[in-house]
Amino acid sequence: MDSNNIMIQVKDLRKEFKKAVKEPGLKGSFKALFSPKYEVVKAVDGISFDVHRGEIIGFIGPNGAGKSTVIKMLTGILTPTSGECRIDGRIPTKNRKEYVKEIGVVFGQRTQLWWDLALRETYMVLKEIYEIPDDKYQARMTFLNEVLELDGFITSPVRTLSLGQRMRADIAAALLHDPKVLFLDEPTIGLDVVVKDSIRKAIQKISAESGTTVILTTHDLEDIELLCERIVMVDKGKKVFDGDLSELKRRFGQMRELNFELKNIDDSEKLCYKDDFNFSDDDLTLDIKGTSVNVRFNSDTVSVEDMLSYTLKRVHVKDINVKDADIEEIIRRLYLGGGMLSD
């Protein structure tokens, strides 16, 4: 690996929070007041990874896995308990003012724009904050305008924008100073399909044209499928997967889906996959609604061929199809499976 090519380097990063433990009720509150007890919560528990220049990586994991905490340490908001992260050779919490010039940050849940300012004025303020020269500012505005279509609402105050407009405005605000790295924390949360689509296209275009490295956290699996060249998955503060989408599918994508219609509704009782094949709970879900049957199973345990012949021998079916694992299924299994998948 060429070390010049590495944009973000995270080494054994840890963040612990002290949490006050309180017994329930008023009595507990009093006790906690006079002899407070703390327990240490390990929000991020030794995570390491590298990100290459220009890469778009998806940072995923269930709620409370430590994604946001990692992002907040990378952006210099939180100080790590131990470990190190360097972005383009810089340590976020050291010389923060210089460091943040190199990055752009968007928190989907929380706008960084000024509520009462018109959008155009917001960008003027940012121009001052980042000390962007006039000509560069003009060129950048034209580019962002084109990619994110800000024209329609650039004179409106931020508080009057719709969520979709606001998100586009926020992304533009984070990119005005042409940062090397863009952090997007759930950029498509709560948006409709059309807006999601336009935001994804914009992210792709920005990454392609400006060579911006993008780190994206999301719960939207389409974001991952369409945008991310690489996926880092965390759970309970630890990294559980790091690789590209095809590897994810190869490693965890043994799940197949069998869908068919029964000719005779009473036939459903004849299907005892679980007992006959000795499936574990994780490896099989059977869903029968009237005559339509949906079976998800692990094709490592039982081959597709065996499943098909078993089914066709026992019941008469109208229509049958086998589906490949989709990413949603993989993620669901990984989230439920938790730490045992660590490599």
Partner: protein
């Protein structure tokens, strides 16, 4: 520094624009403030209607005394540094009450500006015109209404050193607010601590000598609001307590240093909020 002035100017313009938009809100705020002040001044008037002057005695001997108009002047003067701090640096209140608690402090850390300056300059609190207008009105009225022997004795050159010290007096307010607001980085919320400390400035509106040792020490050295009000005001009126002016500069700088230290320690302890 230019950058911060420019930023502050943008936000000041913005808040003035907002003022035009939310006229009723502003008017109600201003009326409320003027009423509060009016009631306090009325109380002073009633007390002074019954007594010739406010006296400080030691062992039954009158050591010092202040007339109604002198007290009114001190009261009015106290509103000036307080008002300027209120006008320019009001955003610190928000920090202790909700900005840190809600995790909104994140945005101040992701911009290439000093986080403290950024918080300060983001808001221009037009309500403070209430303090300033009442303060100036009281100063002018008390001077005009004062018996000519007292007013005539004032050496107006004394105003110059007071004006020099004024920025430091303002910084006493700002530093106390900063230090107490920064406690919220550890405790999530500290607005009430700020409020408690801030309210001791009410003592400073009256001659400091009338208080017992505890209060006197408190408002002169610990939360030194007396340095922003009684001492400079009485210096202008009588030329007394010149010593307080250099002390104000020293105390103000010390407080500023302490508040910055707490602020920067606080930022490393900041825990943001879950999203």
């Amino acid at each position: 520094m230019m950058k911060y002035l420019k930023l502050h100017t943008i936000f000041i313009k913005q808040d003035l624009k907002k003022l035009m938009e939310y006229k009723v809100d502003f008017l109600l705020g201003a009326v409320g403030f003027v009423l509060t002040q009016a009631v306090q001044i009325l109380c002073l008037g009633i007390i002074f209607a019954a007594i010739p002057a406010l006296c400080y005695t030691e062992n039954g001997v009158v050591v010092d005394s202040w007339t109604f108009h002198e007290v009114l002047f001190i009261y009015g003067f106290s509103l000036i540094p307080k008002g300027i701090d209120h006008l320019l640096f009001d955003n610190l209140w928000g920090l202790g009450y909700w900005i840190v608690d809600k995790g909104d402090f994140d945005k101040y850390l992701t911009r290439p500006v000093n986080s403290w300056f950024y918080v300060l300059c983001e808001k221009f609190c037009v309500d403070a015109f209430g303090d300033l207008i009442v303060g100036i009105a009281l100063i002018i009225y008390s001077l005009c209404a004062m018996p000519s022997d007292i007013a005539g004795a004032i050496n107006w050159l004394r105003v110059i050193p007071v004006l020099v010290v004024m920025p430091f007096a303002i910084m006493i307010f700002t530093s106390i607010k900063t230090a107490t607001a920064a406690i919220s980085f550890w405790t999530k919320r500290s607005g009430h601590i700020t409020h408690m400390c801030y309210m001791t400035n009410e003592f400073a509106k009256y001659p400091t000598k009338i208080y017992n040792t505890v209060v006197k020490t408190l408002i002169t050295y610990i939360l030194p609001f007396a340095l922003t009000a009684y001492y400079p005001a009485i210096y202008i009126l009588r030329g007394e307590s010149f010593w307080s002016l250099p002390v104000t500069i020293f105390v103000s700088l010390t407080l500023f240093g302490i508040s910055q230290l707490i602020w920067h320690r606080g930022i490393s302890a900041y825990e943001s909020a879950g999203s």
